[in-house]
C-alpha cells in the first residue's frame, strides 16, 4: 500500500528513462518490455531501500540488473567478456534484431544502428551518458565500475561511433564516385 504509493511517486516518473535503457540494452521492444516489467516488480519489492538517493539512478540500476539477469538466461553469449574486438564483426552480428536491420535501411538512423552495434559494455555507458544524461559518478554507481573505467569506456564508445560515422561518409562518397 505504502510501497505502491512510493513506487508511483518515485519510480513512475523515470519509467521512460528505464524503458530507454532497456530498449538500448536489449535492442528490441519485446525483450525490453519483459526487462522493464521485471525491473518494476523488483523496484516495488525493494522500494523501502530507496532513501535519500536519486530515484533515477536507483531505478536504472535495477533495470540494468534485470537486463543482465534476463541476458544471462536468454543470450549468454552477449555477456562473454568483451574487450571491444567484437566491434569489427558487430555490424553483421546476429545479435542485431530485425528492427536494427530495418533501421539500417534508413540512412538517417545509421548512427542508431552504429550504437546498437556497440559491444554491451560500451553501449550502456554511452546511452547512460548521452541519452540518460547521467554523470560519471552515477554511471559508475549503476554499472559498478570505477569512474576511470567509465571515462575510458566512454572514450572508446565515442571513438568507435566516430569511426563508423566516418566509414559511412567514405562509403557514401564512394557510391557518389562510381555513379
Amino acid at each position: 500500500m505504502e510501497d505502491r504509493r512510493r513506487f508511483e511517486k518515485l519510480v513512475l516518473p523515470h519509467l521512460d528513462a528505464g524503458y530507454t535503457l532497456a530498449r538500448w540494452l536489449a535492442r528490441n521492444a519485446t525483450d525490453a518490455d519483459d526487462v522493464l516489467q521485471e525491473a518494476c516488480m523488483r523496484a516495488l519489492k525493494y522500494i523501502e531501500s530507496l532513501h535519500g538517493e536519486q530515484a533515477k539512478p536507483w531505478f536504472l540500476t535495477i533495470v540494468r540488473h534485470a537486463f543482465y539477469d534476463w541476458c544471462a538466461r536468454n543470450r549468454p553469449d552477449e555477456l562473454a567478456a568483451d574487450d571491444g574486438s567484437a566491434i569489427e564483426t558487430a555490424a553483421d552480428d546476429a545479435g542485431i534484431g530485425p528492427e536494427q536491420a530495418a533501421l539500417a535501411r534508413d540512412e538517417s538512423s545509421a548512427l542508431a544502428v552504429a550504437i546498437a552495434s556497440l559491444p554491451l559494455v560500451y553501449r550502456e555507458v554511452l546511452v547512460m551518458r548521452e541519452l540518460e544524461e547521467l554523470s560519471y559518478k552515477e554511471i559508475a554507481h549503476i554499472a559498478q565500475i570505477p569512474i576511470g573505467t567509465v571515462m575510458s569506456r566512454l572514450a572508446r564508445a565515442r571513438a568507435l561511433l566516430q569511426r563508423s560515422a566516418l566509414l559511412q561518409v567514405i562509403g557514401a562518397q564512394r557510391r557518389e564516385g562510381t555513379r
Binding site: 500500500m1 505502491r4 550504437i115
Partner: protein, 256 residues
C-alpha cells in the same frame, strides 16, 4: 597543461564533469590548442547527432498499463498492514485482477484464468505461512482440542470452519490462527507432521476446484475442495503428505 593529459580532460569538460575552476582553465586551453579544440568539437557534434538520431523511447500505453496492473496486483510478500487501507488495497487488487482476467480471457480461455487464480492463491498462502513463521505467530490459539479451536475461529469469522484433530494419521492439531487470503480473513489450522509445521487455510469454497499442487520457493501448496470449504495446505513437508491431509480434511468435513 600538456595535451597528453588533456585527452581525458577534453571529454570530462564536454561532459560537464570539471569543476568551475578547472572548467574555466580548460576552456582557455581550448582556445589555444587546435588539437584539443577539434577533439572537443568532435564530442559535441557526436552528442548532437546521437540525441537527434538515437531515440529516447517512451513507454507504450499498453506496457505502462501492464506495469501498473502488475504493481497493483502484486501481493505484499512482507507483512501486511491490515490496520489501514485494507479495503482500498483489495479493491484495487480486485480491479487489477479484473483487468488481468479480461486480458487472459482474450488470450486463451478460462482454464488459464483458473490456473492464474490458483497460482495467486498459492503465492499468497506461502507468503502468509512464511510471515507467520518469521513473526513466530503461527499459532494464536494453541490446542489439540478441536472443540477449543473451532469456537475460537468461529467467533472471529463469518463462517465456521470444520476443525479436526488427526493424530492417528500423523497430523496432531497444534492450534489455529487468523490470517488473510485474497482480501478476506481466513481460518488457519496448524498441524504438526513429524518435524514439519503444516498450515491449512480453510475458507468457504467458490466453485469446486479439484485437487491441485504447486511448489513455490521450496514450499509445497496443495489445494482441495470439500464440503463447501476450500482447503489450502502449505508446508515444507512433501506434496504427497499434504495431499493426504487435505483429502482427509475435505472428506472428513463431508461427514456429518
Amino acid at each position: 597543461m600538456t595535451c597528453t593529459q588533456s585527452k581525458t580532460l577534453v571529454a570530462a569538460h564536454a561532459d560537464g564533469e570539471l569543476d568551475v575552476l578547472r572548467g574555466y582553465a580548460f576552456s582557455r586551453h581550448l582556445r589555444t590548442c587546435a588539437e584539443c579544440a577539434a577533439e572537443h568539437r568532435g564530442i559535441l557534434a557526436l552528442r548532437a547527432r546521437v540525441r537527434a538520431q538515437a531515440p529516447r523511447y517512451t513507454v507504450p500505453d499498453q506496457l505502462r498499463a501492464r506495469v501498473l496492473a502488475s504493481v497493483e496486483g502484486a501481493r505484499d510478500t512482507r507483512r501486511p498492514s491490515p490496520e489501514r487501507g485494507e479495503r482500498w488495497r483489495w479493491a484495487t487488487a480486485g480491479a487489477a485482477a479484473g483487468v488481468l482476467a479480461t486480458l487472459l480471457v482474450f488470450a486463451g480461455g478460462t482454464t488459464i484464468v483458473d490456473r492464474r487464480a490458483r497460482e495467486g492463491l498459492a503465492v499468497e498462502a506461502v507468503a502468509a505461512h512464511v510471515r507467520a513463521q518469521l513473526d513466530d505467530r503461527l499459532i494464536a490459539i494453541a490446542s489439540s482440542d478441536q472443540h477449543t479451536v473451532k469456537p475460537w475461529l468461529s467467533a472471529r469469522l463469518d463462517y465456521s470452519p470444520p476443525v479436526q484433530d488427526l493424530p492417528d494419521a500423523g497430523f496432531p492439531l497444534a492450534g489455529g490462527r487468523l490470517d488473510h487470503l485474497a482480501g478476506q480473513p481466513v481460518a488457519v489450522l496448524v498441524y504438526h507432521y513429524r518435524l514439519h509445521t503444516v498450515d491449512v487455510f480453510v475458507r468457504p469454497a467458490i466453485g469446486d476446484v479439484a485437487l491441485s499442487q504447486r511448489t513455490l520457493r521450496g514450499f509445497n501448496v496443495v489445494t482441495e475442495t470439500g464440503s463447501g470449504m476450500q482447503w489450502v495446505a502449505v508446508s515444507d513437508a512433501s506434496a504427497d503428505v499434504l495431499g493426504g491431509l487435505v483429502e482427509r480434511l475435505a472428506a472428513g468435513a463431508r461427514a456429518p
